[in-house]
Symmetry: C2
Subunit: 721 residues, 2 copies
């Protein structure tokens, strides 16, 4: 389950060209040593076969040609690019019909399904199928982005920063330049326009997106088949998951007319076939300095795991009290479990001494010149300065950058209502400033996305909000101590549970109309509202902004240093390479193939018979129980239909929902996970065991027809030419 939840606090920074590093090798705590031994053995003799998360404006044509004798036309690339859809809830997807049908993973759509559901209509548990267009249900706040063009604006952005500028001035100047470019582009084209930082600041590209914000649910299976095997099978293989959801994009109240969509292939790929993956990998650390990776290993990842451990524990405990609790907490529970497992694996790699030696060696190769070495020192010092404000930054501020800002909750205030309060408050304050000097999340280019999110009609449950906020306030007390002045101010003389209850019950922000009114009314209206949650946000606004200011000034220093390092890398290793992942569109490729694990051959494809067998092995007990529809439909299904498959494409969280296409640009599957060995890909590519896991288009086709009585939907998919 590899949706991209941007949980790490560092913003994007720094630069460089790809060096083929022997990087960190995340594995998994509970794995036997065998895995690590095998993996490390693999590192030395690996082929770098199908490495890379490539830019669509710099595709690996040479590798295609040399290894596969495949020469895609510019039209082939443009078609795939424009049929690809970014789900701003944290994943990828693709258009699969001229009438706006778009397919993604169930777990990418889960956030939306959860928000659309109620105690009565539990789309997550029960699934959904709109028999006709009028039955399609509108999502509360889902935004889709389609990448229409890419323009290199490196010179203009880098040119705005003069060598003599202070870090703060440099940061402002760059921010202004970026805001200006985005604004001009948006005014000229009407498209969402984001300047994307690539190669840790080595390049800046302007991405223009067509936005869709009227998105309606067409089909979702029950979660039990979408996430078959649950947390135990997450990041494992073989698998049997129908992890899909199908939406339809609308424009002006009508199904969107789509020029570029993928042709549906009902057979899926063959074992050994070359395939392509187009999606939005979230974040990789393949170019980070040793000092940053040491911080990750010793502080940041343990910090995150500690947070996930506590959240997973109380989410489970609360969910277990009743069916309705479980339903309300479902999406957040899945997200926390997923992140916990992922960072567990990452940490296991980072604490492996062999891996660490490789990381150090990689940097040594770059520090032969005194100049590069000085840049690494600057990064280290900046990290040390950041460490001083990090507790306050993490607990009270946190900014992770659009379009992921929706996931950023300061650790002390794990509450949707707090998020609304902060947005409303800051919007009032920030809008009095010139566009370029505002926080990025309040710049004009982000306006529509902000409004979509702030005016969401998602349900807010007081009890769940109180549970989350009580825990995060308690977490804050234990982090800073009960006698800390900020803690006392935040708690206002009350216990965490009393304070959380007072805030949640007292705020008017549950009401969309109130949010709209305060947003429109600006600072004076926000102030007049005298809303307890907003006043809490105001109370900590100043320390939070202070911490962010220090954080971003130091980040600027790092960014400049990484840019210098990137130049040195480009000079030494050329520019025909790919940058670290940034949750923007990338092209990966790989072959459908199995792998060896502890001497056992893991085949590339599973089939329907395997699903039923796995259920039987586990006596049909959760999370391995076969849903009723599937038990009832068993006789109608071909046991040999391919269900899931793996290929060796280079993917990471955020690629969830990415279409897998064949050389004819036909949809043959959809990425939904990586195996446990692929957690390594955060920092290094290996194709020895690491695999991307997909749902086979054959399974989807058969299930729609025979399990879900959704023949009309399948017909619409198959009619796409």
């Amino acid at each position: 389950m590899r949706k991209f939840d941007r949980v790490r606090s560092r913003s994007l920074a720094a630069t460089s060209r790809l060096c083929r590093l022997l990087g960190d090798v995340p594995g998994r705590r509970v794995l036997s040593a065998v895995f690590f031994a095998t993996l490390l053995a693999g590192l030395s003799d690996r082929a770098f076969g199908d490495e890379g998360m490539w830019l669509f404006n710099n595709p690996p044509l040479k590798q295609f040609k040399e290894k596969y004798n495949f020469e895609p036309t510019p039209q082939w690339l443009e078609h795939l690019q424009k049929a690809s859809v970014r789900f701003n809830s944290g994943g990828s997807g693709s258009f699969v019909s001229p009438n706006g049908l778009t397919i993604t993973n169930h777990h990418v759509g889960l956030d939306t399904l959860q928000k659309m559901s109620s105690e009565k209509n539990n789309y997550v548990r029960d699934g959904f199928y709109a028999k006709s267009q009028k039955d399609e249900v509108k999502a509360t706040d889902l935004e889709l982005n389609v990448l229409m063009s890419i323009e290199d604006v490196t010179d203009r952005v880098q040119g705005a920063v003069k060598p003599e500028m202070s870090p703060d001035d440099a940061n402002k100047a760059r921010g202004n330049a970026i805001a200006q470019i985005e604004k001009e582009s948006r005014e000229k084209t009407g498209l969402r326009s984001d300047v994307v930082t690539l190669y840790q600041g080595g390049q800046y590209h302007l991405y223009r997106y067509k936005r869709y914000d009227d998105v309606r649910l067409v089909f979702a299976p029950e979660e039990q088949i979408a996430f078959y095997g649950g947390d135990p099978d997450n990041f494992e293989y073989p698998r049997y998951d129908l992890d899909i959801a199908i939406f339809r994009a609308y424009e002006n109240g009508q199904p969107a007319k789509i020029e570029h969509y993928l042709k549906w292939n009902t057979k899926g790929p063959a074992d050994g076939e070359l395939t392509f993956v187009s999606g939005n990998p979230g974040r990789t650390d393949r170019q980070l300095a040793v000092s940053e990776l040491a911080d990750l290993r010793d502080d940041e990842v343990p910090y995150l795991l500690n947070m996930f451990y506590r959240r997973e524990t109380y989410l489970h405990a609360w969910a277990a009290r009743s069916f309705e609790n479980k339903r309300r907490a479902e999406q957040q529970t899945r997200s926390v479990e997923n992140n916990r497992k992922r960072y567990d694996g990452y940490l296991a790699g980072l604490v492996d001494p062999d891996v660490w030696r490789s990381i150090e060696d990689r940097q040594k190769k770059l520090t032969d010149t005194g100049e590069t070495s000085a840049q690494f020192d600057k990064i280290k010092q900046a990290q040390e300065a950041i460490a001083k404000v990090l507790p306050v930054y993490n607990y009270f501020e946190i900014f992770r950058g659009p379009p992921e800002a929706r996931y950023a909750a300061p650790r002390a205030f794990y509450s949707t209502l707090f998020q609304y309060a902060r947005r409303v408050l800051r919007h009032g304050d920030e809008m009095t400033k010139p566009n370029g000097e505002r926080f990025p999340e309040f710049r004009d280019s982000y306006k529509e996305s902000l409004e979509l999110e702030l005016f969401s009609s998602q349900p807010i449950y007081d009890d769940f909000e109180i549970v989350k906020l009580t825990d995060s306030l308690t977490d804050m007390v234990t982090r800073f101590g009960a006698d800390d002045s900020r803690v006392k101010q935040v708690l206002a003389g009350k216990s965490p549970v009393d304070r959380a209850t007072e805030l949640v019950k007292g705020t008017k922000l549950k009401d969309v109309a109130v949010r709209r009114q305060l947003y429109a009314g600006g600072a004076s209206a926000v102030s007049a509202a005298n809303d307890p949650m907003i006043e809490l946000a105001r109370m900590i606004d100043s320390p939070a902004r202070d911490a962010r200011k220090v954080y971003e000034a130091q980040d600027e220093i790092k960014q400049q240093a990484y840019a210098q390092i990137a130049k040195a890398r480009f000079a030494a290793q050329g520019t025909n390479t790919y940058p670290d992942a940034t949750f923007t569109l990338r092209l990966s490729y790989g072959t459908v193939r199995g792998y060896d694990e502890g001497g056992k051959k893991i085949p590339a494809l599973t089939n329907t018979a395997g699903l039923y067998q796995r259920g039987a092995e586990h006596k049909n007990e959760p999370p391995f129980d076969i849903p009723k529809r599937w038990l009832d439909g068993k006789a109608k299904l071909n046991p040999n239909t391919p269900f899931n498959f793996v290929n060796d494409a280079d993917i990471i969280g955020g690629n969830s929902g990415s279409p897998v296409v064949n050389k004819n640009n036909e949809f043959v599957g959809i990425i939904f996970d990586g195996n446990i060995q692929s957690l390594v890909l955060d920092c290094i590519f290996t194709d020895k065991q690491a695999r991307a896991v997909s749902v086979d288009s054959a399974a989807i086709s058969e299930a729609l027809e025979k399990v879900y009585d959704a023949k009309p939907l399948l017909d619409e998919l198959m009619s796409a030419k």
Copy 2:
């Protein structure tokens, strides 16, 4: 589920007479504010009705007489005392037949059931009933203690410490005096003899126990009815748990002949009836200094919770992978869940500002004299000195004192095999010293208990050991940093998973015969064994001992200070009171009665019909599924039979399994939990909502006959006169 897992690291220290403090009020994070408001309101007007965990040699006769006009004879008290059984696995129990039958909770017996089980014979999941004596299964390492006599040895112990002694000398002198008293008593009587520190050092009593170490399983229900409702219902009420297990004590291969056993009452208690509880409450903090409670609040409890969160997470994740994993991890999972919930509740109380004010006020009353104030300062300074060594002490040493030492695993080495390695190593080293100068766990008085534990035939599973050790080594790395010299030494250049695998696979300590041989062979044999796990224990022995030395020297300072404070308390408030709990036998009492919760009346008794109703409400889904035997037997059962009940006796963890008796000293129920409101009892007594939860003897009687076809067992219980 209130078994006593002694997870806190502080040893017993300090003194005082009971002052009726307005103490800390633990509640629960996810509770609504209503609970706290109600509870705090309750504190001011509460009656201190049936407060107290009384010593059997200082029972509350005055209160019995005044409130209930009840005057127990010395014989009544002696009978109850000697019919009470301490389960050294962490709970209480009682003799219920002249032939050694002893009843406790299922969750107290769980540790033993787990060790007796295998993949084939899963006594935990399936339950067990020995149809005849020859079918009774021997426990691997269970020790029962029956308190035979109490002697006040305060003068002798306190007299050994002279005012001019250094803390280290004072500690040694006291240790020697205690060891000498224990040794003399043991040689004279043949009984296990423990000097118990009461009133934080205000008094020392010599407890003599008859030991039983041949204990056999007679009956256990399936865990699903013993722990019906699972973690969600833990610490809740109303309840429907048959949380019992029945063992038989043997002597010389025959059922033990028991003089004092409780008469079985098949009706259970009536609503409003006076009842008595005789058991071993584990630990209370009702006399602690503010500085110690502040450390608990800001450091120790968050530290423990952080540990429980991570352990619960990975235990759940590992258990979910297969039925056999689940079985292997069952007991530890329950224990961790239980502690997490308990400390969660405790912390919620400690961070409540109203509660904190009460704690501060309580101390202010005692610090009117400069002398007492100086003692509190000494305690604070000692705590600060301890804090410096605490990370090393917690991760590498930890000693919690017999008989709880079996639960003490240093945080870095959460492994049964490591525990064996340390015992074997230290036994070799310590036995070269005079008895009084050894660590207490190696003194002669503890010899038999140590051997019982070390030579246990409990199964050791490599995979589970590796999982636990890998996690705790990873925990250690993130606590001290990968570059810490001790960490590097412990990991020996390997990743945590590799190192854990090497240690677990490489050690010979899985074999009881090897442990016996090394134990007998002493230091030279241990050294010659060259066992990797023992060598690990040796590697960290010196820093671990150093930390313990600092810890215990500072603890001595605290102990002397608390003794002074206790004197002041005795002087001001008299001596007719009870000391903080110390996992030794205490007498509590209380009335069977319900309570109000949020305006709702919670009745004192539940019944069998309620069990089936709760199952139906939860669609019979885990953990609310009714076991098959109970579904099948439903028609035979009287729906009105009382199932569980609550009374307002003053109990805490460790009281699990305590018999509840009526004025005729008849067994009418068995304590197995406290409600959520009773978590407050760690620090303060309240009877407004806090209740002890028991299984009704009527439910046990009916279940044995009609659900488990165990009429012969019921007959044996009922034949007891």
